[in-house]
Amino acid sequence: MRLAILGAGDVGRSVADLAGEYGHEVVAIADSTGASINPDGIDVERTLERKGGGSPVGTGDPEDVFETDYDVLVEATPTTLGDAEPGFTHTKRALEADRHVVLANKGPVAERYAELRALEDESAGSIRFEATVGGAIPVLSTIEDSTPHAVTAVRGVLNGTANFILTRMAAEGLDYEHVLAEAQDLGVAEADPTFDVDGTDAALKFVILANVLADGGFALDDADVTGIQDIPGSALDLAAEDGRTIRLIGEATRDGVRVGPRLVPENGALAVTGTRNIVQIETKYAGSLHNSGRGAGGPETATAVLSDVGRLPEL
């Protein structure tokens, strides 16, 4: 397939870098300031080197990407909330041109799911978005394989930053602020960690899961979300006395989305440590399935994007 990549952050760059290995060709990569476009395939290595050196990703106009002859638009621009722009419009333009879209951007799928599906119905192209939930972990394709109606609930840990903080607090008996500072030093937490620790990032992923289970109907505003900022070290100590620990757990069903700190058995499947993610997919006829792995990171997330590309039909 010929890929046009929008967004040249960790994920966009990793998709470009790994595309060849997966048998695909990159014909365009763009960020908000520039684009590198070549219908015969761009020189990925040189483009990424240039971008890595602080220069724009290319001298072309990002607008021209849509005029390029591509099969799949990879939407890897930063997630935005509310109207989910510009990710939504990018997706719309590609579908209207009868192309496929693979999203790594959570915004459109969480906030405007029904609109995306309506656009897809009118298009020869399809949308896929495995990378929006759990990075490298095949969550959505597992649900797709089980068929969504046979899945009753999805629960789990889908934010590595919050999980890292809770794990360290429990292990070292430290308080939230202390461990947050350490996580920032290690580069696990962003300078502004709000999105991760207040539960928003996990909530977006569980909203997407609820949309898949119920075929739409949910946005971030429908989720009941509590973060981990108010959990003191003493709460984790008390939980441990009882063989339990606290994790930021999300739950998605056809009835709703809930994210918050919950008590789970210390040695149970959901008590993953560090930045590891896990989901438990509860099925009607086959009990629970667990998928665990790396839920973030450029190359990890790019593998989910490229797996999606591999599942698309030829146009």
Binding site: P232, A235, L238, E282
Partner: protein, 189 residues
């Protein structure tokens, strides 16, 4: 054979259970001191219970250093509540009483200005509004009684009523400005 012969047997069987006794299991938690077991069994016999077996799990110590004891007994159904009441009045920690009545046991962790916000009132409201029995409480107040504290509360709840009970506890929490860390139910979490 089936039409007539059964009648007499049935009434015999009824005579056994009707107004008779049922078997119950209570799980207790005892302090490891001489005389404790005897003290715990007295309310059972005082209230007309008949001991069937006692499983004293020495060596299997609960997280707080107590010894779990499982007592099988029989008694008329209307006496069972009196027995459980009698045990609690004698200061015995009843972890589980009967199979139906306190079918589920959960723990929640409360976080906030627990002491300033009248912890004992919070606990009585949980018992009343969530139809729960507080079995156990651990409090950690590293900042002193005026600061943010955590409490782990172990509750016995009627079977099948856990979701409702947790909803009540959530609403008490939000009224009293306490964070409630609930257990994750469902699946095999």
């Amino acid at each position: 054979m089936g039409n007539t012969a059964g009648a007499g047997d049935e009434s015999d069987a009824d005579a056994e259970t009707d107004g008779g006794v049922r078997a119950y299991t209570v799980r207790l938690e005892l302090v490891d001191e001489p005389g404790e077991l005897l003290r715990a069994l007295k309310p059972i016999s005082d209230n007309g219970g008949n001991l069937l077996s006692i499983h004293h799990e020495r060596g299997n110590i609960t997280p707080r250093g107590h010894i779990p004891v499982e007592v099988d007994m029989e008694c008329p159904p209307d006496r069972f509540d009196d027995i459980v009441e009698g045990l609690r009045e004698a200061g015995v920690n009843v972890i589980q009483a009967g199979a139906e009545r306190y079918g589920e046991e959960i723990s929640v962790v409360l976080v906030g200005h627990l002491v300033e916000n009248d912890l004992s009132e919070t606990l009585s409201r949980i018992e009343d509004e969530a139809s729960a029995v507080v079995l156990d409480l651990s409090l950690a107040a590293p900042e002193g009684t005026g600061g943010v504290a955590s409490a782990r509360v172990r509750l016995a709840i009627d079977s099948g009523r856990t979701t409702e009970a947790l909803a009540s506890i959530r609403s008490i929490g939000s009224e009293k400005d306490l964070a409630v860390v609930e257990p994750l139910l469902g699946g095999d979490a």
